[in-house]
């Protein structure tokens, strides 16, 4: 019997430009890139390829000095065209000029019986060399999972509650079989303790027939879809716990890997945001360059291209690349213009969680809004109280947690819940902060302080 959790706190951002549930054919981008920075907790990426080399989908590109058995692989076949480095020769991007026809590196195929008889060691060996492993994220800290750990549970959030988020059921359609196989493999890793968290308001979706997983249902506004929030309500974690999280698409990729012997990096991407002419889905591969994905589908000229959603995504530009975990592109207007008395004039259009003087958007909470990238004010000290507490559906005092990080107080951070959150869980706090502080950056700083202490 699925357990249902009703969350009351949170805030849905009714961003204009949600993608229609239809897939449009596009010309595939020529260029793809893997960014080591997508994976938190890496020590030092070591390259396995050089410019000019040819790779197949699934061929290793680099490994991390911290856990050498985990390989990071190419999403498509082609030629390594460029390796972008930053300060101290840190690898920023490995770019691949893609073949027209994808060639796959082949791994061992498994029948259903093979999977039933699979040992934990065999499963891990296949997952770490095939490029799937980096999708496993460890909590606490939100870092790359260590294959030698045995997690007490693995959590999968089967819905995304972020602004204009893609419909996970739509993205996953046709992959039910692979998803089930993936869940069966996950069972080998976590002693059978797999949690699949569904949106309570949805009619039985592609996920609800899944076997060998504990089904939990969540209702409520964003961040109900965040796996960290879900873990907090199912079984909160502390310092010594280790649980893993993985996204549904990666679970299906595990299924495909074991049944067909290939690393299938294809995915549906939702093209969203107010500046998109036809918000819809397109099929491409992880790490795709944005250029062809949004070609001839953009209204404005002065816009920002964001890989991911507007709360946790990254401003990459129209020639930037999708990150490993992104299922969405958001295109919104840039807000780099002054507005006469913009801080004072009343408005129905300016979206606010607060109801301060003249901000009337709360009268029509469902009405879609066009949001630009303006910060709507300057950075200040934390001044007002009680707002973060109203938006974070966790038993955590956010203001005190943030202040403990700012003052580098390790004991306080531990006691106040640093182990339970990562950036995405406090993204809404950053959104609503009237003092305009970079709260996600503060949380990551706190996590790194604790990890390295």
């Amino acid at each position: 019997m699925p357990q249902t959790f009703h969350l009351n706190k949170g805030f849905n951002i009714p961003l204009a430009g949600r993608a229609l549930l239809e897939e449009h054919k596009i010309n595939q981008p020529d260029s793809f890139a893997i960014k080591p920075s997508d994976f938190k907790g890496l020590v030092q990426p070591k390259l396995l390829v050089s410019v000019g080399e040819n790779v197949k989908s699934g061929s290793p590109l680099f490994f991390d000095k911290g856990s050498e058995e985990v390989l990071f692989v190419a999403p498509v076949s082609g030629e390594i065209s460029e390796i972008i480095r930053g300060e101290r020769r840190k690898v920023i991007e490995i770019r691949i000029l893609a073949d027209k026809e994808i060639e796959y590196k082949t791994f061992k195929k498994h029948t259903k019986t093979d999977i039933i008889n699979l040992t934990r060691a065999e499963a891990i060996a296949t997952l770490t060399v095939s490029g799937i492993w980096p999708s496993f994220i460890q909590r606490p800290y939100g870092v790359l999972a260590n294959p030698s750990d045995v997690p007490s549970a693995i959590y999968i959030s089967a819905f995304d509650s972020n602004p204009c988020a893609p419909d996970m059921a739509y993205i996953m359609r046709g992959r039910e079989g692979a998803f089930q196989l993936g869940v069966d493999v996950l069972n080998k890793l976590a002693k059978g303790n797999i949690h699949l968290n569904l949106d309570a308001s949805e009619i039985p979706s592609v996920f609800s027939g899944t076997d060998h997983a504990n089904i939990n249902k969540f209702s409520g506004p964003h961040p109900a879809g965040n796996v960290g929030v879900q873990i907090h309500h199912i079984k909160p974690i502390g310092k010594k716990d280790k649980v893993w999280t993985i996204d549904p698409l990666s679970v299906a990729r595990i299924g495909t890997l074991f049944s067909e012997g290939i690393y299938d990096a294809s995915k549906l991407i939702a093209i969203t945001g107010s500046e998109v002419i036809n918000p819809h889905y397109v099929k491409t591969y992880s790490g795709a360059c944005l250029d062809k994905l949004v070609a001839e589908n953009i209204k404005g000229t002065h816009v920002r291209f964001i890989a991911g959603n507007v709360l946790t995504g990254e401003h990459v530009g129209d020639r930037g690349y999708l990150g490993h975990f992104h299922n969405q592109i958001s295109v919104i207007p840039e807000g780099d213009q002054e507005e006469f008395l913009g801080w004072l004039l009343p408005s129905f259009e300016k979206l606010s969680f607060h109801k301060a003087f003249g901000l009337l958007s709360f009268l029509s909470p469902k009405k879609e809004k066009v949001l630009d990238t303006n910060t709507n004010g300057e950075q200040r000290n934390f001044t007002i109280s009680g707002a973060f507490e109203k938006i974070l559906p966790m038993d955590i005092l956010p203001t005190y947690l943030f202040k403990s990080i700012i003052s580098n107080d390790y004991d306080e951070m531990e006691a106040l819940g640093i182990y339970e959150v990562i950036e995405e869980d406090v993204a809404l706090c950053e959104y609503i902060d009237v003092s305009k502080n970079d709260i996600q950056a503060i949380i990551r700083e706190g996590i790194e302080l604790i990890r390295n202490s």
Partner: protein, 398 residues
């Protein structure tokens, strides 16, 4: 607007880094952001969109909530003046204009001096101009009597801004409520201009009518307690009949500090603060609750007639309502945890009534009660947070 933007643009080169007046950069930015919401955009990582509310708007909301008190206060200064001088046929407009003539100079001095200090600190310490003083600048006049000498307003403002705020690091860092610190300064440094019976009604060069007394209900109460007479019976014989009826006290047509007399106006302000979410309803409610409960306790003890003042009278006299709505709710100096807000507010109410009744030196208690609890707010929060941490420890499997 283009014209204004051009004007700012033409000043910009002179205040940029390396230019002759680079020290004035924060002043330039501060003024530009008053006219124009800045063109700053979100970073490449982190949230890409931000809420429309900023501190300027939040502070402005408080100013809007204060406007009913300010306008009523102006009228009431005039009204009390004409009552005291025996002019029975003064028009609404003449009352309002006379009051405005008293109040506006105080307002100008408060803002002028306060912003001057603020700007000086911004330039010296190179921090941006913060919005906190927008509210403080209007709060200070509203807690002063209309007869206050302007130079005292200036001194109080300087003291409040520097000692209560800037030395701690500016808005958001202060421990005490800035406006009340200013008032407390005058209260102890120049008590004869801000306490007693003669300061609350502006007489100007006119002579008061026979039998006039500028005493507030609280000083009647304290006197009654000292003389062993009945407070409530004594009120009936007031020089102006009906002055201290409950509903007249509620409306605030009584002598007092400029903005504090009308509970009705404070409640309108409270409604604005609560609906907009800017002020904490928990604090407002618990201050009233604390005062009423303590009033009841005194009623039960009842060893002198002031103690027997009906508990609900405590809610409508003095500055309790103004303090509850606008002073206690200052988010920086108040308790910041939700449980802490209940305790903090309740204790303010309790202390206010204790000071009123049991301390013969101070007829009004809200100012000292709020300042006292400002000091204790971090302690209250500390224990609330400790309890929270204990609960978390029990729940998590560390």
């Amino acid at each position: 607007m283009k014209l204004l933007q051009n004007l700012f643009d033409s000043i910009k080169p002179h205040v940029e880094k390396g230019a002759k007046y680079e020290k004035l950069h924060t002043l330039y930015e501060g003024h530009r952001t008053i006219f124009f919401k800045p063109s700053l955009t979100t970073g490449s990582t982190g949230v890409q969109v931000k809420d429309a509310a900023d501190l300027k708007r939040v502070m402005f909301t408080v100013i809007v909530a204060l406007i009913p008190c300010l306008l009523f206060g102006m009228w009431n200064v005039g009204h009390q003046h004409f009552l005291a001088t025996g002019v029975v046929d003064a028009t609404f407009l003449s009352k309002f204009l006379l009051g405005a003539g008293q109040v506006i100079p105080i307002l100008i001095v408060s803002y002028g001096v306060g912003l001057g200090v603020e700007f000086a600190f911004c330039v010296i310490r190179n921090h941006p101009i913060e919005e906190g003083f927008l509210v403080t600048g209007i709060l200070i006049p509203l807690v002063m009597p209309a007869t206050i000498p302007l130079w005292q307003v200036a001194m109080a403002t300087v003291f409040g801004v520097i000692i209560a705020k800037e030395v701690f690091g500016g808005t958001g860092m202060n421990i005490l409520n800035v406006a009340l610190t200013s008032r407390a300064f005058l209260y102890f440094a120049y008590p004869s201009q801000i306490s007693g019976d003669m300061v609350w009604t502006y007489l100007g060069d006119q002579v008061a009518v026979d039998g006039f007394s500028g005493a507030t209900l609280l000083s009647y109460g304290a006197a009654a307690a000292a003389n062993g007479t009945e407070v409530m019976a004594g009120l009936g014989g007031h020089w102006y009949a009906g002055m201290f009826d409950f509903w007249n006290l509620f409306l605030g047509v009584i002598p007092g500090s400029i903005g504090e007399t009308s509970v009705l106006m404070c409640l309108i302000g409270a409604a604005i603060l609560v609906i907009t979410g800017v002020g904490s309803w928990k604090i407002i409610l618990s201050v009233f609750g604390g005062a009423w409960v303590m009033g009841m306790v005194y009623n039960l003890a009842g060893t002198n007639s002031f103690m027997l003042l009906p508990a609900h009278y405590h809610l409508v006299v003095g500055g309790l309502a103004f303090g509850a709505v606008f002073m206690a709710t200052d988010p920086v100096s108040a308790a910041q945890t939700e449980t802490g807000k209940w305790i903090y507010g309740f204790m303010i109410g309790v202390l206010t009534v204790i000071i009123r009744i049991s301390n013969p030196a101070y007829p009004e208690g809200i100012m000292l009660a709020v300042l006292f609890m400002n000091v204790f707010a971090p302690l209250i929060d500390y224990y609330v947070v400790e309890a929270h941490k204990k609960r978390r420890l029990k729940r998590a499997t560390i």
